[in-house]
Symmetry: C2
């Protein structure tokens, strides 16, 4: 056996849906040349990451080996695949390869960060290939819920690997290339060592439906609503859907208004790159004001209930001078991603209060998924006929189920989660190494580690409140005046009916009156003692143990 090896290492996306970042390497152990597939983000929430702006994969392992990276390949322009390219560019510096639409989106991100445009290189689809160190990488067109998604054909001296990217098997995707089974069969005919495969919908038992199937239903719905305004929201990146919605509006005699930055940006990118042609003319929100509302259709961002997006703003009140009212129709042409339910329901109820009729996806008529369902995964396996299947783009439950499915079809399935380096060389895959992985938070303008304790402290303050104790000691280490407390996020009064702040100051004062010189001399001991008193007194008074910060000032 050769001493060279072919490795696969997920740094994000394997054990979660989001934040995709996969590494392939080929070469002698610990000297492999590397390529990166996708560099995406995940989105924070109040539960686990309050105040955080974006979640990025921890790329420390890559940064240590940046001189070995020959390229970064982006399969498609969804945020969980491309969202981190600009944030990580300073650290990695490698050229970024993508098809035109994806590259357009990536370049916008690079521009915003002041990075050079030409770091993003536009590549054509298969049969073109990019030489990147020992790899030759080709972009094989694949249907998904965004234009120009691609699977990657990754050729190395150890054979051909196919990285599926996100996909569905759609013969009629409206925008972008249909899935071409013959093409996929052709690239697979000489043998595929491993298929690294999207697992999102492995629990969905029925074959996926084509994007084309929602058009007639949407048109029927929009035509049927003759009274007020029609508003529809979907994922801004689903250009095909936006087109379908717009065409339904036009067919019903309505002028189209695009609301929300992401919506306009995506349509702009799609038109610029020639992916989207003959999109209906749109009118500006300004011009829309002079059009009767029964002749208007708004296409808006915020299908996931995002607080600042157009949907939420319209549900709340006016947005860009437009306002919803009784008799209007609001369509969610989208599914709610688990975790976003509350935000979406909040909007639906606000719309209900305005008398707006809401149609969501519960009927199944107005949305189709962009991911391959179980029978589609099986079909792709049959076409590609890979020796090994390595599920990715899934939580643990998805990966495990996808491995079972693969093994049930007589293939080798590998359950590789983030940080698990798989040696794909030779006849049987093995775990080569476990790499420490994790998450980095973009917090305001800086990146912080998930384990730095910053977010943990925020959560603690949110759960427990925060008490600040200040104490001044004179030259003899005697308290100068009384200790002082400030409370934030705590009840004002407790069991004794006295103000909590007074009770705490009283208890601290009593302690200090009794404290000996030794205690008063030692900052650490004194701080700890004061903290303990505050926590105990607060527990007695209000039944909570707050976070406590003690500031001791000494007059010498």
């Amino acid at each position: 056996m050769s001493s060279e090896r072919l490795i696969y290492l997920p740094l994000g996306g394997a054990g979660e849906i989001g934040m995709n970042a996969y590494v392939y390497g080929y070469g002698a152990q610990d000297a492999e040349r590397l390529i990166v597939v996708d560099l995406g983000v995940a989105f924070p929430d109040m539960d686990g990451t309050p105040g955080v702006d974006l979640i990025l994969p921890d790329i420390a392992w890559l940064v240590e080996r940046k001189d070995r990276i020959d390229g970064i390949f982006i399969t498609h322009a969804h945020e969980d695949h491309v969202g981190a390219v600009a944030h990580t560019y300073d650290q990695l510096g490698a050229p970024i390869y993508a098809r035109p639409f994806t590259a357009n989106i990536a370049r916008r991100k690079m521009d915003e960060h002041g990075h050079p445009d030409d770091a993003v290189r536009v590549v054509a689809g298969w049969p073109d290939q990019v030489q990147a160190g020992p790899f030759k990488v080709g972009f094989l067109p694949m249907s998904h819920s965004i234009p120009e998604s691609a699977g990657l054909i990754i050729d190395s001296p150890e054979g051909r690997v196919i990285h599926s990217g996100d996909f569905k098997l759609d013969p009629t995707p409206i925008v972008g290339e249909p899935f071409d089974p013959d093409l996929w069969a052709d690239v697979s005919k000489d043998g595929v060592k491993a298929l690294i495969c999207d697992s999102t919908n492995v629990f969905s038992q029925h074959p996926g439906r084509s994007e084309v199937s929602v058009g007639p239903e949407i048109e029927k719905l929009v035509r049927g609503h003759t009274a007020g305004m029609v508003v529809a929201t979907t994922f801004a990146s689903n250009v095909a859907r936006v087109k379908t919605l717009a065409e339904a509006g036009v067919a019903a005699g309505r002028s189209i208004v695009l609301l929300g930055r992401a919506m306009r940006r995506m349509i702009e990118a799609a038109i610029e790159t020639g992916v989207l042609t003959d999109f209906p003319t749109v009118v500006s929100p300004e011009d829309a004001k002079s059009i009767p509302r029964e002749n208007l259709m708004l296409l808006v961002t915020g299908s996931q209930g995002e607080r600042r997006a157009a949907s939420a703003q319209l549900a709340n009140g006016k947005y860009m001078g437009l306002e919803l009212k009784e008799g209007d129709l609001f369509l969610f042409s989208s599914k709610t991603i688990p975790g976003n339910e509350k935000g979406v329901i909040r909007i639906i109820n606000q719309l209900s209060e305005k008398g707006v009729d809401v149609v969501d996806d519960s009927s199944g008529l107005y949305h189709v998924s962009g991911h391959a369902n179980r029978p589609d995964l099986e079909r792709l396996q049959d076409i590609v006929n890979p020796q090994i299947v390595v599920p990715m783009h899934g939580e643990h439950r998805h990966l495990r189920e996808h491995v079972k499915l693969s093994e049930g079809r007589g293939r080798t399935g590998v359950l590789a989660v983030n940080g698990m380096m798989i040696d794909l060389s030779g006849n049987a895959p093995t775990v080569a190494e476990y790499i420490e992985t994790g998450r980095t938070y973009l917090d305001g303008a800086v990146q912080i580690g998930a384990l730095d304790g910053v977010v943990r402290d925020r959560i603690r303050m949110a759960l427990n409140g925060h008490v600040l104790v200040t104490l001044i000691l004179d030259e003899e280490d005697e308290p100068l005046g009384e200790p002082w407390c400030e409370l934030m996020g705590l009840a004002e009064t407790g069991r004794s009916k006295a103000a909590l702040v007074d009770v705490l100051e009283e208890d601290l004062g009593q302690f200090l009156g009794r404290a000996d010189a030794k205690t008063l001399r030692d900052d650490d001991n004194l701080t700890e003692a004061l903290r303990r008193i505050v926590r105990k007194s607060a527990q007695d008074e209000i039944g909570k143990k707050p976070e406590v910060t003690v500031v001791i000032s000494r007059m010498h």
Copy 2:
């Protein structure tokens, strides 16, 4: 027309699912005698109510009129209906009426708070009636997902009102009384003025399924799993389901273990009150350790992913000496309430990591809802034939849809949300008044108002971090030493690569060096100036504007 009137006033539950509290009154305006139907809680979350323990309805309106309250009637023992009785007892003091099982649960709550047992009065079902001021109230048995749920027949000089409580139309509910259409028709035959009706499932288009339908499926599943342990979770209060699960386990030769306080408590209450008979013998977790795992079935709390419940603990590691492993089966015999998805998915993934097979409700085989679906709501209307329908127990979208449904059937529908007092007297209902309502938080041991700012401050600290500034001024109002900063929940370094705390102290020091005597003399102005500097410097350094607390100490 008489000067007496019949009013209905929801204080909680109309505009949300949870925290039910409805008031009925009869008498001269502003002198009505009152009864309260249900006093429930809602559950907090990190998004909107971090650190809060329970959410209670704001009963200020009732407290001001406590001498006019003739009774509190609890329809059933779910937390969103009975959860607040003990927390509000000191403020209201009125007798609480409930059927035996509900009363048993209510008394346990009263005991925990040191309230007298006999404040909860056990009443029999219809045709018994309780005289409460001008009202006669009867408990009409109704099927739901907990034993002894009841609709209330509320008779007043203005006629009969029926308050449905939570219900489904189940002819075979396993535990408790089936829905009896003849009984409901009989109580309605002389005319029903208004039906105040559960709206939870108004968007579910198919007739509801009976509790009995899940038994055979559960038994098939449990029998089919012959390898390791079987674990099932459901709502602890769904005594019928717990019984079905236990019987399926016994039929498959397994010993039953109940895990989780709520699970044991509910079964205990159901046996004590005679509601549940012939429940299989259970073994203790201690004894279970010596039984082979293929002969064990655990029935556990935590179907909603609650962090401290048995499900979460088992998914995490050992619980009560029991541990799950590869080959075990875990059944969610429950649906996930919107908002709880992340917690449930976390558990499923942890179980997946252990190699445990998880079966959830996606097949629809192992759970049925406890609420009436749309056709069931229609059927009940047909039976009761009320003049007016007032939807309750729903978010705004549910209430609105339920009003539409009622109006579509030729009835008067009234959309009454929390705080909207409806005058049901005479021939057409009218809005009598708008009452200020809201929520109260149980926070540790104390109740705080939702608008007190306490929780708002917690959320701000969680989103923005917290900076504490301490400054000492001498007798001449000159700074004594440098200002001091402490950070919590903030990145340590920012753009300048220097420690953020140093940058802030430096900027504050510079400001103080330039500040004139007037600025230094005025605490408010000085505090505001220091806060502004911290926020601006932090924004420049780390791109975030933290919460700032300033403590100024003066040496005079």
